[in-house]
């Protein structure tokens, strides 16, 4: 009998393979041929079992499953075979010697994985160069000892290098830092800095002499719990900046549950840190500026975050053209919120009906970083939002009627890096062709994932999506605009795999193109700078409000250059816990002239500038129009960069 079975089991591959029916080689293959009837029936049963198993597996996985030219002319349809812009990480050569501390390697607790990584560009000394502030985190051990490492301020030397000026800056708060945002809250002409922490946030007043003073308590703006993203905006157009702070979870980090200890402490059956699901949500805060250096918490009165969603990225923008800044908050594992400004000091969360709360199938997503931007140049703000792996990042196209349509996948940004977890997310026109591209900083939260072969990795490369313009996509897409991921062909700066979090853009060398700062967990940051780029033209616009807030935040700027019309708004915050150059950047393609620039200020006032020069930094003052035009440097050499042999412009 055993011999007979051996020959049956191993001697006839064709039969053993079960070519005619599922699971033909199942448990009952042991039956002799004379029991063919039994064989057939059992095969049928086994096939049904197999189908059931397949269906069960499919169903259980369905929750996880959903469910890629340069255009130098920027004219639709005109594409050339130019080499893509090239980026290289120059952080070390530029003097940025920083290491983001954020917990241990295993990430046993949620704060170690999600916390920290904020990056803010701020011209704190008004020298015309963007300086860099990097928020530091902590470790559980250092937190207990109250010895968290300091955040760092790097002064831009104007020659491509930076100097660490933290020690004499007054930015001396030690804590588990998260994010930062920039704004001149007291309209004194010097940008201030708000930094979020676990356990209470900090407002640093810029003294105008290169130092800051912690005025948190005096201003009444510490907040509570676990601050994450923050953004300044003048929601009541009173000329003073208010502040929105996203709050994450309401927990005592010294009493967090252990990895794998509950259902919300696993990922793909792998024991991981717990949360945010299963943990109480923190309530976001809206602070109203009292115009006297103090703020009032108006969260309740304004109707903000009644459900205590897990808030992360925050950005202001007037999505519905009613002249009032609205707020979009990317929430983790809960619906994201779009707070429509009702104009009476209150807001209504219209995220669900506007179509920006969920994914395209109504599912809650793990929203991280977000940004407003008019990627298709139709004059209406669209939204980008990064999510967790196994989920499509969203590109919400503004339908001009108060609703949005998620076109991430058909527009080409959903499928590439499907397994990536996107934190930093920002619109930018990196090649100055007049169409906003998208850059994403990625990195998983579970280091344990590297022990498996899922295809998901802890460290991930950043993604760079080039806007192909109207000719790039199909007529089914809004304005036909489609994106193509070009990171791998955009230089070594986009090749490295890191566990990235914060991302912010700035033209720190004032050469007319945008650089990208990215922070990385337990690692040094990256400063991605062009080594070669298109010859396209561009402008920077700096707004100075008079009746409006001094920074001109919320000002809508329209730039018309021939057949190219672009819009943007001045904003702080956005991306993931980060804040970008407050000056607006517009690429012009091959156009060397600008027909006009129109500025609609938050006060309602309009200024128009006719035929301003291209390739200039244009300073526009409310009521006065263009007050200064400085030529952008078409750079030759920068000390630190040249020394590293990286100069390529």
């Amino acid at each position: 009998m055993p011999m007979l079975r051996h020959s049956r089991a191993g001697g006839n591959p064709a039969r053993a393979c079960g070519e005619n029916h599922a699971l033909q080689n199942t448990i009952l293959r042991i039956l002799p041929d004379k029991f063919a009837g039994i064989l057939k029936s059992t095969i049928a049963v086994a096939a049904v079992c197999a189908l059931c198993l397949a269906l069960l597996e499919t169903r259980s996985n369905r929750a996880m499953s959903p469910n890629p030219q340069r255009d130098g002319s920027s004219r639709p349809g005109q594409k050339s075979a130019k080499a893509p812009d090239q980026f290289v990480d120059v952080a070390k050569e530029a003097g940025i010697h920083f290491r983001l501390t954020s917990g241990g390697a295993e990430k046993r607790y949620i704060i170690e994985a999600k916390g920290g990584g904020g990056v803010a560009w701020i011209d704190y000394n008004n020298d015309g160069y963007q300086d860099l502030f990097l928020v530091n985190g902590c470790t559980m051990e250092l937190w207990k000892q109250k010895e968290c490492p300091p955040s760092r301020l790097y002064r831009n030397n104007g020659d491509g290098t930076f100097t660490d000026v933290t020690a004499r800056s007054g930015l001396d708060h030690r804590g588990w830092g998260m994010g930062a945002c920039v704004g001149d809250y007291d309209n004194d002409g010097f940008d201030d800095l708000y930094v979020t922490y676990y356990g209470g946030n900090v407002l640093y007043h810029n003294n105008g002499n290169g130092t800051f003073t912690d005025v948190t308590d005096k201003a009444g703006i510490r907040g509570h719990g676990w601050g994450m993203g923050c953004a300044f905006g003048d929601y009541d157009s009173d000329g003073y900046l208010d502040l929105y702070v996203a709050d994450y979870v309401d927990v005592d980090i010294l009493h967090l549950p252990q990895p794998g200890s509950a259902l919300n402490c696993t990922y793909r059956s792998i024991a991981t840190f717990c949360g945010p699901r299963g943990l109480p949500g923190g309530r976001d805060i809206l602070f109203h500026n009292n115009r006297n250096g103090t703020f009032t918490d108006v969260t309740e009165k304004a109707g903000i975050d009644k459900n205590g969603y897990y808030g992360l990225g925050v950005v202001w923008g007037d999505y519905n053209h009613d002249g009032r800044p609205d707020i979009y908050v990317a929430d983790d594992s809960t619906p994201s919120s779009l707070y429509r400004n009702n104009g009476d000091g209150t807001f209504t969360d219209v995220g669900v009906e506007a179509g920006v709360a969920y994914g395209s199938e109504g599912q809650e997503q793990a929203g991280m970083g977000t940004d407003f931007g008019d990627y298709d140049n139709d004059g209406w703000l669209d939204i980008i939002k990064g999510n967790f792996s196994d989920d499509s990042r969203n590109l919400y196209h503004n339908n001009h009627n108060g609703t949005f349509t998620d076109i991430g996948f058909p527009a080409g940004i959903g499928g590439v890096g499907w397994l990536y977890t996107t934190f930093g997310a920002k619109f930018l026109d990196y090649d100055n062709d007049g169409w906003k591209d998208i850059v994403l900083a990625n990195g998983q939260v579970f280091p344990q994932i590297d022990r498996y072969k899922t295809g998901i990795t802890y460290a991930e490369r950043p993604l760079l999506f080039h806007n192909e313009g109207p000719a790039g996509g199909s007529s089914a897409l809004p304005n036909g605009v489609k994106f193509k991921e070009v990171g791998l062909e955009s230089g070594p700066g986009f090749q490295a795999r890191k566990v990235s979090r914060g991302l912010a853009t700035a033209d720190y060398d004032n050469d007319g193109d945008l650089e990208i700062a990215i922070t990385n967990m337990n690692d040094s940051p990256e400063l991605l700078r062009h080594t070669s780029k298109s010859p396209n033209h561009s402008i920077l616009v700096k707004t100075i409000g008079t009746r409006s807030n001094r920074d001109g935040m919320g000002a809508v700027i329209k730039v018309v250059s021939g057949d190219l019309t672009q819009y943007d708004e001045v904003r702080s915050g956005g991306s993931y816990l980060s804040s970008s150059d407050l000056r607006l950047h517009f690429g012009l393609g091959s156009r060397t002239s600008i027909d006009r620039i129109e500025v609609l200020w938050p006060s309602g006032r309009r200024d128009a500038i006719l035929h301003p020069p291209s390739d200039h930094l244009l300073v526009v003052k409310e009521g006065l129009g263009l007050i200064e035009a400085k030529p952008l440097r078409k750079p030759a050499t920068y000390r630190g960069i040249q020394a590293a042999g990286l100069e390529g412009n």
Partner: protein, 314 residues
């Protein structure tokens, strides 16, 4: 003399004949048990089949076939623990037979003990590397163990051995999809459909990819075919409704989505699609109601789901 000399031979022959007869009788008796057990299993009389197999094993305690039949009856009856014991005894009796390990893997798979299943299936393919079904199941076990890359290799191996193996393209497609390789996944689903045209899941999974990638025509066709195969299939109705939604054909979307809601009332995605259809038709009140249902359902899920992204652990 002759008779006296031959007598030991005759006796020996007679003894051998008796032994042979007894053995034949024993084999026939064992086969008889096997036949009866098999008939009872095919008749769905599983408990009786198990009793009959046990009776047979009392007479033929080293019968591997009866142990396996006992295991089969018990497995079909849902007595997985006992079935596993029977299969383990069969393996003890004949440790070089790949079938025993394969049987054990099925129990392990049914109990979602994927590591155990993978171990048994690896033994199976080490003894019989040409067993395509074992490669397929090993791939499934590995995929569930977050070993997607190795799983894909097993699916590919299964298809190399048996290019028309049912469900192999489907599972390969699913593995590709979980890696975000949607074009490759779609290709595999299409191959599964060609080989196995009555297999409903391949249609809606393929349709979902076409829908996601914006190929609404192809998606619509797949969902329609899915509906024909399984008229009460939630996924096909929902998918077709989504296609109409994307085409802004709200009045056509509505009945499909409503049908999906009727089939699976507590499903967030269906209520969300219904809300969007009402919204597109200007029925804001109805849309608000459905959005509220979505919010409530999501809130309920919040309590149950695990993982930072809300991904349900497999």
């Amino acid at each position: 003399m002759i008779s006296r000399k031959l007598s030991p031979i005759v006796w020996a022959l007679c003894f051998a004949a008796v032994l042979a007869a007894g053995r034949t009788f024993g084999q026939d008796a064992e086969a008889g048990f096997e036949a009866r057990v098999g008939q009872l299993i095919s008749a769905g009389q599983l408990e009786e089949a198990a009793d009959q197999a046990r009776a047979g094993l009392r007479q033929f305690p080293r019968s591997v076939d009866l142990e396996q039949l006992l295991g089969a009856a018990l497995f079909k009856a849902g007595h997985n623990l006992e079935a596993r014991r029977a299969f383990e005894r069969a393996v003890e009796l004949d440790p070089k037979a790949p079938q025993g390990y394969f049987d054990l893997s099925l129990v392990a798979l049914a109990e979602k003990q994927y590591a155990e299943a993978a171990k048994e299936l690896e033994r199976t393919v080490s003894l019989n590397h040409r067993n395509a079904q074992a490669h397929l199941l090993l791939g499934r076990a590995l995929h569930n163990l977050n070993q997607t890359g190795p799983a894909i290799r097993q699916f590919q191996e299964a298809l190399t051995i048996a290019p028309r193996l049912p469900l192999a393209h489907y599972h390969l497609g699913f593995a590709y999809q979980s890696q975000g390789k949607l074009t490759a996944a779609l290709d595999e689903y299409q191959k599964e459909i060609a080989l196995n045209p009555g297999f409903y899941p391949a249609y809606w999974l393929a349709g979902n990819i076409d829908l996601k990638q914006g190929d609404l025509k192809a998606a619509g066709s797949l969902f329609e075919q899915g509906e024909r195969i399984q008229p009460d299939g939630y996924e096909a109705h929902y998918g077709l409704g989504r296609v109409f939604l994307e085409q802004k054909q709200y009045s056509q979307a509505l009945p499909e989505i409503q049908r999906a809601v009727d089939l699976k009332p507590g499903t967030v995605e269906a209520h969300y699609a219904l809300a969007r259809a009402y919204q597109g038709m200007g029925r804001q009140h109805d849309a608000a109601r459905e959005f509220t249902i979505c919010s409530k359902l999501n809130a309920q899920k919040q309590k149950m789901a695990s993982g930072i992204a809300g991904n349900v652990a497999q």
